[in-house]
């Protein structure tokens, strides 16, 4: 094998990969452009949906089955989308923007539903959302509404000076401006409320609209309010999700409905390079689907350590299957629960031990065989779980150790630059290799959770083969990276690592592709209910 041509292949592959990423980013650019030109917007959505269902389009974009379309959005961009939606609804329903916004928030940004309901019964919709469209001046000086018989007095602070400014929203419950501001500030700053700040009057469900909030509160509180509103735009929208990485302010838009989470794992990558599942927000868990991940995590929380201990330290009564820990004494056991007497060593009935007390030499006897068999069976399910759990946990642990590997690798790369004539760009292959390794470990980890729930069919053999291949390749790569550097062998190592990295990457893609395909085709059968 000529190493030169091999290297070219790698380079080509890497190039292809970057192409892939670019094509995803292209979508986001498209979307951004479409914002400026509202006519394009529909086209974009059509495109997006085509990609999900149309194989030809997918081919063109070189999209893998396990990948989904998504766009990453900045908070500025979100504000834009929000304003656009509000503007659209305001013009359709012919109402001020702040009311349209309140309505949209009430209907969780489901424009179609809002318009449909509004057309049916506008009064009811407005009432439910807490909007009254009557023209009411929001801020009025107290002297304008005070009469000698009924001087204005704020119900909150009981102040009744004529210089007061009064505030009310469309329900016309008036309070003095200071109290109104204090109330809003309390709601926004302390309670983090934004979408549904109701009028301070007890029992009044009218929502204080954005414009009033803007006019009444100070600038910082208003900024905070906008931020909170922005957040509800994402929180309430089924197609948007915040990146869960700490301090990351991006949101991801993805049009995978929650109903297809049993057939697809929508892994997305944020601008901050955090990879997570759009469906559940957890870090990337391909190829396991969200319902399985949830079940698996619950099981592990409940079981793992306890199960380990039970399996290591106890046996079951051959008759009633109570779990027994032997913490001393002889081998003549009497079950506390069912009073069955048996031998701890061979698990056979004690009655057959005759005169050879405390000296079990009856291992091959039929009855003890049977006892052990039933024991084995009931332990099998536990063993099976532990088999998968141990491998799952092992990869998780290894992935953690990769943090160390990162540091070591950095040092290695420095060393390489000093001891050989390789340039900075040429030693980047090590970092790339560690990245791939970590990614493969995460994938492998989840293959075990996936496999645990898989009912055994001929298809599972294929899955396990793919898993085995990936695991072997990953371990090889890991071994290569751990090796100490030898000056004269650097070129060889570099070649090896490059080869392996590409190979491992391909194995991962094969596994993910096949699993994703199987999910779409309904090829896998799980022994648990996915609902």
């Amino acid at each position: 094998m000529s190493s030169d041509s091999d290297y070219d292949d790698d380079v080509m592959n890497e190039f292809d990969d970057t192409m892939d990423e670019d094509s995803i980013m292209d979508d986001s650019d498209d979307y951004e452009n479409s914002l400026d030109d509202s006519g394009d917007e529909l086209e974009y959505y059509e495109d997006g949906e085509d990609l999900n269902f149309d194989g030809v389009m997918a081919e063109k974009h070189r999209k893998k089955l396990y990948q989904v379309d998504y766009t990453v959005q900045s908070s500025k961009h979100l504000m834009g989308s929000q304003d656009k939606e509000v503007g659209q609804v305001a013009s359709i329903l012919g109402m001020p923007k702040e009311h349209a916004a309140t309505l949209l928030r009430h209907y969780r940004w489901n424009k179609e539903k809002l318009i449909e309901r509004y057309m049916d019964n506008p009064e009811k919709v407005l009432r439910l959302a807490g909007v009254v469209t009557d023209k009411v001046r929001r801020i009025i000086p107290a002297r304008e509404i005070s009469t000698p018989q009924h001087p204005f007095s704020c119900d909150i602070c009981c102040d009744d000076e004529e210089e007061l400014e009064t505030v009310a929203v469309s329900c016309n419950h008036r309070f003095c401006r200071t109290c109104y501001e204090h109330y809003l500030r309390q709601k926004i700053r302390e309670e983090g409320e934004s979408r549904k700040i109701e009028c301070p009057q007890d029992g009044c469900k009218i929502v204080v609209d954005e414009k009033t909030v803007e006019e009444v509160v100070d600038k910082n509180t208003h900024l905070r309010y906008r931020e909170l509103l922005n957040r509800t735009f994402v929180d309430d929208n089924d197609h948007l999700r915040w990146c869960p990485a700490p301090n990351c302010e991006f949101a991801v838009e993805c049009h995978i409905p929650s109903t297809s989470l049993t057939t697809i794992v929508p892994t997305v990558e944020c601008e901050c390079s955090h990879q997570f599942c759009f469906g559940c927000g957890l870090p990337d868990h391909q190829p396991a689907i969200c319902p399985l991940v949830k079940k698996w995590q619950k099981k592990c929380e409940d079981d793992s350590e306890t199960a380990n201990w039970i399996s290591a330290h106890t046996k079951e009564c051959p008759k009633c299957h109570s779990t027994i820990e032997k913490n001393g004494g002889c081998n003549h056991m009497t079950c506390r629960k069912c009073k069955y007497e048996f031998c701890w060593v061979c698990m056979g009935p004690w009655s057959e031990h005759g005169t050879s007390w405390y000296n079990c030499n009856r291992y091959d006897e039929k009855s003890s065989h049977e006892a052990r068999d039933s024991q084995t069976q009931s332990r099998a399910s536990l063993e099976r779980y532990l088999h998968y759990y141990n491998r799952f946990a092992n990869h998780q642990q290894s992935a953690k150790l990769d943090q160390d590997l990162y540091r070591k690798t950095e040092k290695k790369m420095e060393e390489m630059q000093q001891t050989s004539d390789l340039s900075w760009i040429e030693v980047q292959f090590l970092k790339k290799a560690v990245d791939t390794l970590t990614q493969c470990r995460m994938t492998l980890k989840w293959t075990y959770a996936f496999a645990f729930y898989l009912s055994r069919t001929n298809e599972t053999v294929i899955f396990e083969d793919n898993q085995k291949d990936l695991e072997m390749a990953t371990e090889h790569l890991s071994e290569l990276l751990e090796k100490p550097l030898e000056r004269e062998k650097i070129a060889e190592l570099r070649q090896n690592v490059l080869d392996k990295t590409v190979y491992v990457k391909q194995r991962r893609e094969i596994l993910l592709e096949d699993t994703a395909k199987g999910l779409l085709e309904g090829r896998w059968t799980f022994f648990v209910d996915l609902k």
Binding site: D155, I156, C157, Q186, P200, Q201
Partner: protein
């Protein structure tokens, strides 16, 4: 304190309204952020005839934050802790709005006494009792009202607990003798009984 004016006005309103059967006692130092309220038990409930003492503290953010209230008298009620007097009432928590007043909160307490919510309990044991055997629950509640919220109760000497006194009276000892004995032994029931025998 910026809410002084409002609190003053509220207390005045409570004093003027004789129908509500609510009384507010301000501390002698003249401060307005801590006071004691007395509410009478609603009629046709096991709490009828009782006068319950409620500890009220007004936070500086009042009326934008609710006042803090808890029962000082022990009350046998699903939504009131039988140990600490803590109250589970929505308007003292998230349903509070600044137009509500001390008076409206205290009236709500009264209505809480007449309409317990055993499905949203503060005191799980009491709530379980209520759901299991309402009649028996009411008897206990009535007993507690008589013992802990009796407006006619004489002022007992230090160390004499009303429940201990009630038990001694139940045993057949004279009331004043029992009080003296309990006071003498600083509340030690056993010793008091022995001295009385």
């Amino acid at each position: 304190m910026s809410n002084m004016k409002r609190v003053q006005k509220e207390i005045l309103a409570i004093e003027q309204d004789k129908e509500a059967h609510i009384e507010v006692i301000l501390p002698e130092d003249g401060s307005m952020n801590h006071m004691t309220a007395k509410i009478s038990g609603p009629v046709n409930t096991p709490y009828e005839g009782g006068l319950f003492t409620v500890d009220v503290s007004v936070p500086p953010e009042y009326p934008f934050l609710p006042p803090k209230m808890k029962f000082v008298s022990r009350v046998y009620h699903p939504n009131i802790s039988s140990q600490t007097g803590a109250i589970c009432l929505d308007i003292l928590k998230d349903k509070w709005t600044p137009v509500l007043t001390l008076k409206s909160a205290l009236i709500s307490l009264q209505s809480l006494l007449s309409t317990p919510e055993p499905d949203d309990p503060q005191d799980a044991q009491v709530a379980a009792h209520y759901k299991r055997d309402k009649e028996d629950f009411e008897q206990t509640a009535k007993y507690w009202t008589e013992v802990y919220a009796n407006p006619n109760a004489e002022v007992l000497p230090d160390g004499v607990k009303p429940e201990a006194l009630a038990r001694l009276v139940d045993m057949g000892f004279g009331r004043s003798n029992a009080i003296n004995a309990l006071a003498e032994f600083k509340g030690d029931e056993q010793a008091a009984v022995e001295s009385l025998l």
